[in-house]
């Protein structure tokens, strides 16, 4: 079930990212599991940036350590002869590592989304910011803006230059394009994530980023569709949004009506003890349209906190008995008596509870 996967993935990710990563993982569970088993981020992002053809990518990944990969300058240039102007790699490596750690690569679409979120998760937890929800908010902001707003603009520019060089190299050979598609297919099994570059579609960073964003939005819309009843049959974002809006409006209206109803029932907004007993039993019974009286079985003594509340309530009722007019006094007296009954006699608890409910119905 989603809940299990969400909570399972959440246990892996760190605390401030709970909501987001739980939802992310619902859709990207495979990829995130693979990510967790992956070599350090620097290597995976590095290979992703290279956009190598399939066999080269596989070979690089099968290399034992990421350190070897990075330090192995002699290995790379031989493979990079296909790419024009790619002899600048050694100098860029440090930048790539820094960038991968700082997770500024929102413009990089290839595999960046789960990776960058993981990176920003780590950076957010590393900074141990005092406001976790700001980190949570800036995290989607980072991944969504095609131009990163801030920490390393120079790194981004260099990466853009590198990507352009690679694009030129790619454009020269159609084979490399289809190979890239294949590599993205292979990537599903490899320990990093590619955004699937479909055949015939543009592979520049902007459209890929947009497509990944679209996929995210669609994933969340699916979640919403499952949540809102009667929405799973509908296709199309606009209609689904309409249903969601109707559902939210109806829920808000229900809250209004119910609060008015509760205000009408009770002359004072204190509720009786039955409602205070039930928190302990809500877990046992899943609280559908529950019969509160039938649930009151004081198997265990209420907590000290509740006991404290009861003391206050009893004192309040003592005062109120003096102040309130006639019929309200009756109700208060009934409220006062029945909890004592339920406390003193276990067997008659259900009886007293049903007695109370019937009394309140009479008064209504």
């Amino acid at each position: 079930m989603e809940a299990i996967a969400g909570t399972g993935a959440r246990s892996i990710h760190k605390a401030p990212e709970e909501e987001l990563t739980a939802l992310e993982s619902l859709q990207f569970t495979d990829e995130i599991h693979l990510l967790m088993a992956a070599p350090p981020d620097s290597s995976s992002s590095f290979t992703a940036l290279l956009e190598l053809s399939a066999p080269q990518a596989v070979e690089l990944l099968h290399l034992p350590e990421s350190a070897n990969l990075i330090s192995n300058d002699s290995y790379k240039p031989t493979q990079m002869d296909d790419f024009k102007g790619s002899l600048h790699f050694p100098t860029d490596i440090a930048l790539i590592e820094r960038a991968a750690r700082l997770s500024v690569f929102a413009g990089e679409s290839n595999n960046k989304h789960s990776n960058s979120e993981k990176n920003s998760a780590e950076t957010a937890s590393d900074n141990s910011s005092a406001d976790p929800e700001k980190a949570v908010k800036s995290e989607p902001a980072e991944t969504e803006y095609s131009q990163p707003s801030g920490s390393d603009p120079t790194v981004h520019k260099k990466s853009v230059k590198r990507k352009e060089r690679e694009k030129k190299a790619k454009g020269s050979a159609k084979k490399s394009k289809t190979a890239a598609n294949e590599s993205s297919d292979d990537a599903e099994q490899l320990p990093y994530v590619h955004v699937r570059a479909r055949r015939g579609q543009a592979t520049d960073s902007h459209s890929l980023a947009e497509r990944a964003r679209r996929e995210k939005i669609n994933a969340r819309m699916k979640l919403l569709q499952e949540l809102v009843p009667g929405c799973s049959k509908i296709s199309g974002t606009a209609l689904v949004l309409e249903e969601i809006i109707n559902h939210v409006q109806s829920l808000q209206r229900q809250v209004e009506f119910l609060s008015m109803r509760l205000a009408a029932v009770n002359p004072r907004i204190d509720f009786n003890f039955d409602s205070i007993f039930t928190p302990e039993y809500m877990q046992a019974t899943s609280l559908v349209d529950s019969n509160f009286p039938s649930m009151v079985m004081p198997v265990m003594w209420p907590e000290a906190q509740v006991g404290g509340n009861r003391q206050q309530c009893q004192q309040q009722w003592h005062l109120d008995i003096l102040h309130q007019p006639g019929w309200e006094r009756e109700e208060v007296c009934h409220n006062y008596i029945t909890p004592e009954n339920s406390l003193l006699s276990y067997d008659s608890s259900t009886n007293s509870a049903t007695l109370h409910s019937s009394q309140s119905k009479m008064e209504l």
């Binding site: 989603e2 809940a3 909501e19 987001l20 739980a22 939802l23 406001d131 929800e133 908010k137 989607p140 902001a141 969504e144 939005i217 979640l223 919403l224 949540l227 809102v228 199309g236 974002t237 606009a238 949004l241 969601i244 809006i245 939210v248 829920l251 808000q252 229900q254 809250v255 209004e256 119910l258 609060s259 008015m260 109803r261 509760l262 205000a263 009408a264 029932v265 009770n266 004072r268 907004i269 204190d270 509720f271 009786n272 039955d274 409602s275 205070i276 039930t278 928190p279 809500m282 877990q283 609280l287 559908v288 349209d289 529950s290 509160f292 509340n309 206050q312 309040q316 102040h323 309140s360």
Partner: protein, 186 residues
């Protein structure tokens, strides 16, 4: 997603706490006052169940803290968290107002582009027209959703808006269930 039954439990406890505080402060409230108090303590209890991790819960708490009377209730229900949250809450509206103003300025300047777009729509094939209509509908409905979800106007990107809506719907459903069962019982 936390299991719904613990959410309901927590919500009920905090709601009762809030109601006790409300009733102890005022006596002999009218029905409308009672309804407002009930709804307010329910909303604050719901927001405190999320405790500042989501945008809508923050917005509810901040809005409640604007009013002096409700502020006391918020502080009691939330405890120590309330001070931390209210500090953050004061930062949010300021930055977002600037963004909203700059967006409006941009929109006015882009009006001329829209006139040109309308001409192209009239001449283009029906598929493209349908797509543009769908986009308009989606845009309008996301704006409507932003207005519905508390604190939605501060959410800039669609993705987090959808996540907020998701969480908000779950919490609202729990709130409605608890209130309905309480109303049926009494």
């Amino acid at each position: 997603m936390p299991p719904p039954s613990s959410l309901k439990q927590e919500f009920l406890k905090k709601w009762m706490m809030g109601l006790h505080i409300c009733s102890s402060s005022k006596k002999n409230m009218s029905i409308l006052e009672r309804k407002k108090a009930i709804k307010l303590s329910a909303d604050i209890a719901l927001a405190s169940a999320r405790n500042g991790t989501t945008c809508w819960s923050q917005a509810i708490i901040v809005n409640a803290s604007q009013d002096d009377q409700d502020k006391i209730l918020v502080q009691h229900v939330l405890g120590r968290e309330s001070e931390r949250l209210m500090k953050k809450g004061s930062v949010l509206p300021l930055t977002s107002n600037k963004r909203i103003r700059s967006r409006k300025i941009l929109r006015r300047s882009c009006g001329s582009i829209r006139r040109r777009a309308r001409k192209t729509i009239a001449t283009s094939p029906p598929k493209v027209v349908a797509i543009s209509i769908a986009k308009k509908l989606i845009r309008k409905r996301t704006q409507l959703l932003k207005r519905l979800v508390p604190g939605g106007k501060f959410i800039m990107d669609e993705i987090s808006l959808i996540e907020e809506t998701l969480d908000y719907i779950i919490s609202l459903q729990a709130q409605v269930d608890v209130m309905r069962s309480l109303a049926n019982a009494s």
